[in-house]
Each structure stands twice: as C-alpha cells, then as structure tokens.
C-alpha cells in the first residue's frame, strides 16, 4: 500500500512541478533590484498580466547580471538603468529595436539618485550646497582620515546604481578601481556590499554609513531605516529607466507589448502616482523627452 501511495504521489508531484505553462504565455523580464525594491512590479504585474493574458515573471538581478541573462536569451526583455552598459548591450547586437520607438533602448521613467547617510552627517555633506562630486570627495578625504567614523557602502554588484556611483567617482577626479576600490577598501572606509539596493541600504543604516541609492527604493525602505536624505540635487544624479527587447528571447511579441505598455499614457500616469499615497512623494517621474533624451 505504502509503495503504491508513494508512487502515485511521486508521479503527481513530478507532473505538477515539471509541467510549466506553455512558454508563449510567459514573459520573462530581468529587472534591477531598485525597481523591485521600490515595489513597482508588485504594482504593475497584475495589470500587465490581465491586459495581455500572460504570466509576467520578474527575475530580480543587478543590471550587469540582468543584461547577461538578456544576452543568453534566458529572458525576453530587460528593464535596467545603466546607460553605459545598455549602450554596450545594444552595440553587441543583443537588442531588438522596439516598434513605434526609434531606438532599441526605450526610456519610460526616471528619478534621481540620492546620497543618504546618518542624520548626524559626520562628513558634513549636506552643508554648503555641495555638488555630488564635492560630497564624494569630502567622504573620501574624511574617510581616509578617520575610517572608523566615516564610511561609504557601495552596492559593488555591477548594477545600474553601482555604475552611477562609479561615474560620480570618475567625475570627481578619481580612478575608481585604484583610489576607491583598492585604497579606500584597504583604509576601511569604503565597503562593497555585493547585494541588492534594499540590502545595501540596511547595511549602510546598520554601519551608520553613507550610500548612493535610487530615490524610489529609499522611500520604500525609509520606514525601516534611520538614514536620511543628505543630498539630492545635481545633474549627474539623474536616473533613467530603460526597457530593452532581447534578440535571443523566446517571446519577442510579448516583450514588445511590455515596452508599449510601459509607455502607454495610462501606465505612465500610474507610474507617476506611485508612492504618493504611501510616502507623500513620487517614486518615479513619467517619461520626459527633454530630460531622458
């Protein structure tokens, strides 16, 4: 009896675990942690699935890994935010130009990165109207001087946010890999988390350290954190989210639908309203050709 029962259970379990819905009803999207941590996909997934009768599967990775999955064809589309990596992806022939848009990279929302840190602000970056580059220089200099008191936590995971952080260090006049990643880490003030945005924020909060974050994730996490926004202005902090259809993906039609969906007027309005009821602030701004380019 036990044998028969076990066999039946085994067969049932195998069937239910292995049988997946036909691939044409699945759209697989690799997306950055910042979008997921901000709660965007929780919000849009149901609407998209209902509108297109599809199972939208979100795989949350840093921009680097997300684009790697896109190159292999393991996902049908990527939604990311690192212009330099995106350009390389498109140049490598891994993207398909979206119908109705004149580029393979389709921007559909933006917000700003912010520098957050402990309210005490030991490096004093919120005083004197500093630019982001000046703030980073001060964190580096003061950090070298007293690495116990002043720390900066980096994503360190090749994500879009990490890419932006590197761009700021470069713009501030540093050689990122030697001055920051090597010397800073040796001195102890520069910490690479190697984690998603939410985890990095939690870590920075625990260490009373500075970090660079997209605004959406920070607002979503602010309730659990003591960190505050210290600096949020400067052109370099612009953060544009882009959707790209992957050439090797298995469901290009549905990927096209996603791009169209993200730029549809009603969805744009939803994106613009996201966060307002909960945080009193917008998490994202809808697409604006003047800003997103």
């Amino acid at each position: 009896m036990i044998i028969i029962a076990a066999t039946v259970t085994a067969v049932a379990a195998i069937v239910s675990a292995v049988s997946v819905t036909s691939p044409h009803t699945i759209l697989r999207v690799a997306t950055t942690t910042s979008l997921d941590d901000a709660g965007l996909w929780d919000y849009l997934e149901g609407i998209f699935e209902k509108r297109y009768a599809v199972d939208l599967q979100i795989i949350v990775k840093g921009t680097g890994m997300a684009l790697q999955l896109g190159m292999n064809g393991d996902v049908d589309a990527v939604v990311v935010h690192d212009p330099s990596q995106e350009i390389a992806f498109v140049a490598g022939g891994y993207a398909v130009e979206a119908e109705g848009f004149d580029s393979a990279r389709v921007p559909w929302a933006y917000n700003y990165f912010v520098i957050v840190g402990p309210e005490a602000d030991p490096a004093g970056i919120c005083r004197g109207n500093l630019t982001p580059e000046e703030a980073f220089r001060r964190i580096q200099q003061w950090g070298e001087a007293s690495p116990g008191a002043i720390k900066f936590v980096s994503r360190g995971d090749n994500s879009g946010t990490h890419g932006k952080e590197k761009a700021i260090w470069a713009s501030a006049g540093y050689n990122y890999s030697s001055d920051i990643q090597w010397i800073g880490a040796t001195a102890g003030w520069y910490v690479e988390a190697g984690s998603g945005m939410g985890a990095t924020l939690v870590m920075a909060d625990q260490m009373m350290a500075y970090t660079l974050t997209d605004k959406g994730t920070f607002l979503a996490y602010r309730g659990n954190l003591d960190s505050v926004t210290l600096l949020d202005t400067g052109d370099i902090l612009l953060n544009v989210y882009t959707a790209i259809i992957c050439r090797k993906g298995s469901n290009p039609e549905m990927a096209q639908n996603l791009v169209t969906f993200l730029r549809a007027p009603d969805v744009q309005a939803l994106v613009a309203g996201l966060g307002v009821p909960d945080y009193g602030e917008r998490l994202f701004y809808p697409y604006d050709p003047k800003i997103c380019g």
Binding site: I2, A6, T9, A10, A13, I14, S16, A17, V18, V20, P23, R28, D37, W41, E45, D55, Q57, I58, I59, V60, L69, M71, N72, G73, D74, S195, G196, G198, A199, L201, V202, D205, Y221, N224, L225, K248, S250
Partner: protein, 228 residues
C-alpha cells in the same frame, strides 16, 4: 533580539491565518524538494544497492568520491546549472531555466551523493547472511535488493529524511536557477533571503520558523510510516 520573538509570533499568525502567499511559497518548497527527494531516492536506492552488492574495481574510490561530494555547495551546483540550462548553454533547448523543474534538477544533483552514500552505509548495516539467505531462497538480484532495503528500512528512511532536509533548506541553487520569481519559483529559503535583504527581519524569521515547522511535520509523518 525582539525581532526573533516578533518573528515567531508572526510565524504563528501566518500559519493560523493560512496566509495565501505563505501557503503558496511553503507548498512550492514542499513540492519542489519533495519531488527532488523522491526522484533522487528512486535513483539512489537501487543504484546505491548495486554499488553495495556488486564487486568491481575502483569501488572504494567511487565511495570516497561520493562521500566527498556530500559537501558540494548548493551555489556551485546552481552556478553550473545556470550555465548549462541557459539558452546559450548546452541544454538551453529544454528552456527550463527559471522554472521549478530546474530547481528540482538542482536539488536532485545536490542530494544524490548524500542519498547514495547513506544508502550504501545503511545496507552495510544489514548482515551479509541476510542477502545470502534471500539468494538461496531463490531471490533474483532485484528481489534481494528490495528485501535488504526493507531490512534496512530505518537507516534508509533516515537517509531519505536527511536528503529531503538538505534539499528543502538549500538556497544557493534555488536562487541561481529558479530566479526567485514571485508566484513561480519563490520558495521559503529564497523568500527568506529576499525579506532579510529588505530588512523585513520579522517576516524572514517567521518564514524560517515555518520551514522548521514543515520539517517537523514531515519527520513525524515519515516516522509514523516506518513504525507500521
């Protein structure tokens, strides 16, 4: 420290309120690890028996290799399978990356050495005379293996329970090949990693408690079965 207490309270709340998302995640954990464990058992019990009963060159070496593989990290298997199952990889045609099937395969590979090794040692606990007696009474090789497995049922069941435990508690492989997709491949351990990353420590602890609770129930059920 309050997080732990709050987490346990939350766990009880989630269990008694039949929270649909928690139920779904827990059910998926059970299905995937249960399937992996069953399939691995179907492979390992006969195969382990053959290794035990047959005499061949390199048997000792093989058993040493199997025992060494007990400690292969789940994340290494995940990484290998990510490459293998990727559309750009050798088995990309299957299209099972980021599906429960890939997770089942990963967990199977993870626990096969453990189940093989423990099956072999379980059978070593049965006297040689038992197998000889069965053969003398006219049992074929398969019938002998089946009888000896039954003689060693306590140790064999312990092996299966350990295999299941390793499968349901691993996170590295599930995260790599499953992708932690909400509603598709999110299981208890990957959810814990996600929630802990978000700073939702209470929920993470609650999920951890639920995992242990499930393991307890399964142990009780299996022990009941073996007492029959």
């Amino acid at each position: 420290m309050t997080e732990i207490w709050d987490g346990l309270t939350r766990a009880v709340q989630l269990i008694i309120s039949f929270d649909p998302e928690v139920l779904e995640i827990a059910g998926r954990s059970l299905r995937i690890s249960g399937t992996a464990c069953l399939l691995a058992s179907l492979i390992c019990l006969p195969l382990g028996s053959l290794i035990h009963f047959r005499h061949f060159r390199g048997k000792r070496v093989l058993i040493n290799i199997i025992q060494t593989l007990f400690s292969v990290p789940a994340v290494v298997i995940g990484l290998l399978l990510l490459v293998v199952f990727s559309r750009a990889g050798p088995l990309g045609e299957l299209g099972i990356l980021f599906t429960p099937a890939a997770m089942v395969v990963g967990q199977m590979i993870l626990i096969i050495p453990l189940l093989l090794g423990l099956t072999i040692s379980a059978l070593s606990g049965v006297s040689k005379e038992t197998a000889d007696t069965a053969i003398s009474l006219g049992a074929s090789e398969f019938q002998t293996i089946w009888l000896v497995l039954r003689e060693a049922k306590y140790a064999v069941l312990a092996a299966v329970i350990m295999g299941f435990g390793r499968a349901i508690s691993e996170v590295g492989c599930a995260l790599m090949v499953g992708g932690n997709i909400k509603g598709a491949t999110r299981i208890i351990t990957t959810a814990i990693a996600l929630e802990a990353g978000k700073g939702e420590l209470e929920l993470a602890i609650a999920l951890g408690a639920i995992l242990l609770f499930l393991a307890l129930i399964i142990n009780i059920v299996l022990n009941r079965l073996q007492e029959r």
